[in-house]
């Protein structure tokens, strides 16, 4: 962790304790950026304030160059091991979004250089930050000319000596600056050579970038599965060994195998698509150009807050460099994972695979612009003869089988917010598909030469608002629909009063004037057309796009809940549905006569239908009256009922199939704790009604064996009034929702009880059936009858 508040040594008179505490309180992985943001939103301290640091008072006297160098020095504290110059893009160098919040605070405090967080995200080169600050302060923005950015640009660009010269536009509005930079980047594509189309042959050696990312890691495995090809992965690292280590860790993080069988088909090279020749030696570059017969580019900087200048190296110049590699030597197809973000123009009417993409001047987020520009340069490369395939996913959902999800995907934040606050923004369509489907279709396209050179929208089947609302209703997690702006304001308000660190990234997007446009386009965009993808899927008999509904996203949702992003209803919430259960019976010391009365008065509740259908669990509250333990009633501190525990597998050394298992922790008035375990079991007898009401219980002191055992029973007279007529449903639900809740619960519960009660009887019936003659016996009889008939005929013939 960077040394927070370390600037105090420069001016001990400044009280920085509050900010230092905020930074220091930050736990690993649970950055409380919202605290810092809140602090940053406070009005700036007037320049004349007595507490202003001396360094700050002198800021105006410094030139842009000096301020840029100071900013770079401050930023270096967040980037140990990285060389940070005034032309280094701090995000490219590894600065995280949370670090960015802290850096803005440090710059204001230590250097008296006040820039907004949006300024930093728009262009994170220290020189540009200094120029922005100077322009805002009315100071001269020019300093000594920047050294030639030797570490940036494509190999192509370096050869031609052409790089966008943007330093002189320091005072121009950001949007215009971006367009000028984009135009300059587009011009780079003209420098590409001309080449033949790639040979239409199944690839044997594939170059893959971005294998450490969410989609890339899945795609790596799907490429291996789709054919017999060897895959060369380019991974950013100091050397090949470190690159392999990084890939192995990334795959493990996404639940992907890195076994001996995978390793034997993968080569990992340390490389960086932002560097000339990918950061490879000339020999390796030539070797790749010669040996590789297909290039798949998944690598991208996916950050919706960063500006175009900060993203162009990875997202635009990287693909351009790969295009050059594809055109060097034997022509190779380039399959570029783009995004439907190229259509992210608010109000766009169509998003078909071959429809015109958005107008660049109507895109706001740097990410959208960078994906747009990448397609534009590669379209130019197509005109030069390169076979380029555009693969455009929308939002990428979690894996339908493993549940692995991308914490940085907008859909993750959206699902998290909806599940927490039970309010859903009134969106039109969500172009959302699971990562496993996108990855599999992408790999199939890479292996089918007939599919190359086209555009594919890998958006799956769009989610609609009514479908989402219905799913939530069925899961017992009913949601309210709100207008988009109200929903956003409500979310920001909630986050301010009761911050959820896991939703910080979503809040930052919703607070950013540019990134919010991206979100808005996601909410109100049309359903992406995907006719070509559908035809391809049908032709290859691949799994068709299906709705990424509640069932498909269940595992991902559970993982999100585990990680605190989403929230599942719990025992502490107001119950979705509850009812009473009263039982009475006799208990006695274990193995002895039952001589003491025992009464149980419970309130059974569920927090959602999800809880019972998925986990078969019912929550228990209430009291146990058992004078053998304590003269006063014991309170249920913790308690749950498991419905058909272990799927009805008989209990140890028993033939009885468990129907319900009660597990409670009780506390008596003296503070002593007890455990109670009880089973309702199914036996092959005719007293089924009794079986569903009879509970065998054992009670013991906490951590000790049972001291009491006995049987309690729900009186037949109280069952219907308590457990059916007496069901209470969450009063906040509408009457229709309440009826649905009651019916869903009863249907599910009685089906489970029926299945459980049937088990022992079915076994008995099967034992009877075992006595029947089988085909061998019958055939023997038939044969005997035939022989007898023949004998008789022979006798008669004689």
């Amino acid at each position: 962790m960077p040394e927070a508040g370390g600037g105090s040594s420069r001016n001990p008179s400044v009280n920085r304790r509050p900010e230092e505490e905020v930074i220091e309180r930050r736990r690993p992985g649970r950055a409380q950026a919202s605290d810092l943001l809140a602090r940053l939103r406070k009005p700036a301290v007037p320049a004349t304030a007595p507490a202003a640091p001396a360094a700050a008072r002198a800021a105006g006297a410094r030139g842009v160059d000096q301020v840029a160098a100071d900013i770079a020095a401050q930023a270096a504290r967040f980037l140990p091991g990285a060389s940070t110059g005034v032309e280094t893009d701090l995000f490219d160098a590894g600065l995280s979004s949370v670090d960015a919040v802290e850096l803005v605070a440090l710059m204001a405090r230590e250097l008296d250089v006040r820039v907004s967080l949006d300024d930093l995200f728009a262009d994170a080169r220290p020189r540009r930050l200094a120029q922005r600050w100077a322009a805002a302060a009315g100071l001269p923005v020019t300093g000594a000319e920047a050294a030639a950015p030797a570490a940036t640009g494509t190999a192509l660009a370096l050869r031609s000596g052409l790089l966008p010269a943007d330093d002189h536009r320091a005072s121009a509005p950001q949007a215009h600056e971006d367009i000028a930079t984009i135009l300059a980047d587009l011009a780079l594509a003209d420098r590409l050579p001309f080449s033949r189309q790639a040979e239409p042959a199944e690839p044997r050696r594939i170059l893959l970038t971005g294998a450490t990312g969410f989609l890339g890691s899945h795609l790596l495995l799907d490429l291996l599965r789709a054919g017999d090809a060897h895959v060369v992965c380019l991974v950013r690292a100091a050397d090949d060994a470190a690159a392999e280590q990084r890939l192995a860790e990334a795959l493990a993080g996404y639940d992907q195998p890195w076994s001996f069988e995978v390793r034997r088909r993968v080569t990992v090279l340390a490389a960086d698509i932002r560097q000339p020749r990918l950061g490879l030696s000339e020999e390796r570059w030539e070797e790749l150009a010669r040996d590789v017969d297909s290039i798949v580019n998944v690598a991208a900087a996916v950050d919706f807050l960063r500006g175009y200048p900060s993203l162009r190296q990875t997202n635009v110049l990287g693909p351009l460099l790969l295009a050059e590699l594809a055109m060097t030597g034997r022509p190779k197809p380039l399959h570029h994972v783009s995004s439907v973000a190229v259509f992210n123009e608010v109000g766009i009417e169509k998003m078909g695979e071959d429809d015109p993409v958005a107008h660049i001047d109507r895109l706001f987020a740097g990410y959208d612009k960078s994906k747009w520009a990448a397609e534009a340069v590669l379209r130019r490369a197509r005109e030069h003869g390169l076979t380029v395939t555009f693969l455009r996913p929308g939002a990428i959902g979690g894996h339908t089988r493993t549940g692995v999800y991308n914490p940085a995907d907008l859909s993750t934040g959206l699902i998290g917010a909806i599940s927490r606050f039970r309010t859903v923004p009134a969106f039109k369509f969500l172009n959302l598909a699971p990562v496993d489907w996108i990855s599999r279709i992408t790999a199939a396209i890479v292996f089918d030469p007939k599919a190359w050179g086209q555009n594919y929208n890998l958006t799956g089947r769009a989610e609609t608002l009514p479908e989402l609302v219905k799913d939530m209703k069925l899961a017992g997690m009913n949601v309210r629909i709100a207008g988009w702006k109200d929903w956003r304001d409500d979310l920001l308000r909630r986050q301010e009063t009761d911050p959820v660190p896991e939703l910080d990234f979503l809040v930052r997007i919703l607070s950013s004037p540019t990134a919010v446009k991206l979100f808005e386009a996601l909410m109100f965009g049309p359903e992406a057309g995907s006719e070509r993808t559908e035809a391809f899927v049908a032709r290859h008999r691949l799994p068709p796009a299906e709705r990424y509904g509640s069932e498909a996203q269940l595992k991902a949702f559970e993982r999100m809940a585990e990680n605190g992003v989403a929230r599942l209803p719990s025992r502490e919430d107001p119950p979705y549905l509850s009812f009473r259960e009263r039982m009475k019976g006799q208990v006695g010391p274990v193995g002895e006569e039952r001589d003491s009365s025992c009464r149980l008065a419970f309130t059974l509740s569920i927090a959602s239908m999800y809880q019972v259908v998925r986990h078969r669990r019912i929550d228990v509250r209430g009291q146990v009256v058992c004078e053998r333990i304590h003269p006063e009633p014991l309170t249920v501190v913790e308690g749950e009922i498991q419905v058909r525990p272990d799927e009805g597998v008989p209990r140890l050394h028993s033939n009885d199939h468990p129907l319900l298992r009660y597990r409670l922790v009780l506390e008596d008035r003296d503070g002593n704790r007890w455990w109670l375990e009880g089973f309702k079991t199914a036996r092959a007898r005719r007293d089924l009604w009794k079986q569903t009401r009879t509970l065998d219980i054992a009670i013991g002191r906490e951590g000790e064996p049972a001291v009491l055992a006995g049987v309690v029973k729900v009186p037949g007279s109280s069952f219907l009034p308590d457990q059916i007529d007496g069901i209470q449903v969450d009063p906040r639900l509408s009457s229709q929702e309440q009826r649905l809740a009651k019916l869903a619960w009863l249907s599910w519960f009685f089906l489970q009880m029926g299945a459980g009660l049937a088990e022992p009887s079915l076994r008995a019936a099967a034992e009877l059936l075992d006595l029947r003659r089988d085909a061998i016996d019958r055939d023997k009889d038939k044969l005997a009858r035939k022989i007898r008939k023949l004998m008789i005929q022979r006798e008669q013939n004689r």
């Binding site: 495995l221 291996l224 599965r225 639940d255 195998p257 076994s259 001996f260 069988e261 995978v262 088909r265 894996h399 089988r401 493993t402 496993d436 008999r541 691949l542 799994p543 272990d646 799927e647 009805g648 597998v649 008989p650 140890l652 050394h653 033939n655 299945a755 088990e759 079915l762 076994r763 019936a765 099967a766 034992e767 059936l769 075992d770 029947r772 003659r773 089988d774 085909a775 061998i776 019958r778 055939d779």
Partner: protein, 365 residues
């Protein structure tokens, strides 16, 4: 008795070991000799499922389990127990039960292998009914001293869907009284056969036109369920499913029914002193399992469903001393975990990782 030759591309490395169980049943045991000899390699006994055979581990058209085990430094031993389609018993009229497999086939094969490998380590990879029978042998204490066990699909706690239960246990009764067995190869049946009605039934709603695929994938033997994910098979494997999966004997139904309805591996022969060595309930005696155990299942297993997940939960709760883990392979069904086109990548990798771990633990002791 003839044993159909093993289908493989292993050349001279395959050694057939004559093996007859003590009840007089001739079985198949094959050792695959690694290049350069076995040396100190641990041996791995591989058990197939009912109606399958050792062929399922030596598919020449894909990278198979034997290839992977050899490359990973093991010596594979393939047992064709009496339910193998390389043997004639499933098509005959002499009944057997899983008790015979648990009592004779597996323990005696293990003993024979031990004789041959001396003090080298012995591990076991078992599939489906092979694993179910192994669980009984282990619970009976007839197989001891293994260094690691992988059980795929089902182990001690079989569980089918309610639809399959209804059709197999009770609808299957009709089949049991009329058919001695049900073939999977339509060519052997012909159009005008009493079995053709079953093939007609399993073809309803099938996307694939291959009758053998239909009887395994679309509607397993007419009782519902599905034995593999169709897209996971190599076309060449798909086209020779009839060689890989043979006739299913109907007399096995009562034993299968009793264990599934009880959700527990049970001894079938109750009043027969020959089987007294087997416990009535294998799950109640699972504490005898000494070796580390990996329960494996495809996430989309539509025959045994989550049987192995349940088994893992129960073993963990009832026998906390056992070293047991559960691994779910995303996107796989049942048979394709071994015969799938990419099984080497997705399934054999984790299996070898586990075997390596067991091997290391042993070496470290």
């Amino acid at each position: 008795m003839t044993l159909r030759p093993l289908h493989h591309r292993l050349g001279e490395r395959v050694e057939d070991i004559p093996f007859t169980a003590s009840d007089g049943t001739r079985l198949g045991l094959t050792r695959v000799v690694p290049d350069g000899g076995a040396g100190e390699r641990p041996a791995v006994l591989v058990l197939h499922g009912l109606t399958a055979s050792a062929d399922m581990f030596t598919l020449p058209e894909t990278r198979n389990l034997v290839d992977v085990l050899l490359d990973a430094g093991y010596e594979p031993w393939l047992l064709d127990w009496r339910g193998s389609c390389r043997l004639p018993y499933n098509e005959g009229r002499v009944r057997y039960s899983f008790d015979d497999v648990a009592l004779y086939d597996i323990p005696e094969a293990v003993a024979l292998i031990r004789e041959r490998i001396g003090g080298r380590q012995l591990l076991c990879v078992a599939h489906c009914i092979g694993a179910l029978c192994l669980s009984m042998s282990l619970a009976a204490g007839l197989v001891t001293g293994l260094d690691g066990i992988v059980a795929q699909g089902v182990f001690l706690t079989p569980k089918l869907s309610w639809k399959t239960r209804a059709r197999l246990h009770f609808g299957g009764e009709l089949l049991r009284s009329r058919f001695v067995n049900i073939p999977t190869d339509f060519k052997k049946v012909g159009l005008w056969s009493k079995h053709s009605l079953i093939f007609a039934e399993v073809s309803i709603g099938a996307e694939c036109k291959d009758p053998t695929c239909q009887i395994l994938h679309n509607d397993s033997w007419g009782v519902g369920g599905s034995l593999f994910e169709h897209d996971n098979l190599d076309t060449r494997t798909h086209d020779r499913l009839a060689d890989l999966y043979g006739t299913v004997p109907m007399w096995i139904l009562p034993h299968l029914r009793s264990v599934e309805l009880a959700h527990t591996m049970l001894r079938f022969n109750d009043n027969d002193g020959r089987y007294d060595a087997l416990p009535k309930n294998a799950l109640d005696n699972a504490g005898k399992i000494e070796a580390p155990l990996m329960l494996l299942s495809g996430s989309d297993n539509r025959f045994w469903f989550d049987s192995n997940k349940i088994c893992h939960e129960i073993l963990t709760a009832r026998y906390p001393q056992l070293d047991v883990r559960y691994v779910e392979v995303p996107g796989y069904g049942h048979l394709d975990t071994f015969i799938g086109r990419n099984a080497a990548l997705d399934v054999f990798g984790p299996i070898v990782d586990f075997l390596d771990e067991c091997r290391t633990v042993k070496a470290g002791r």
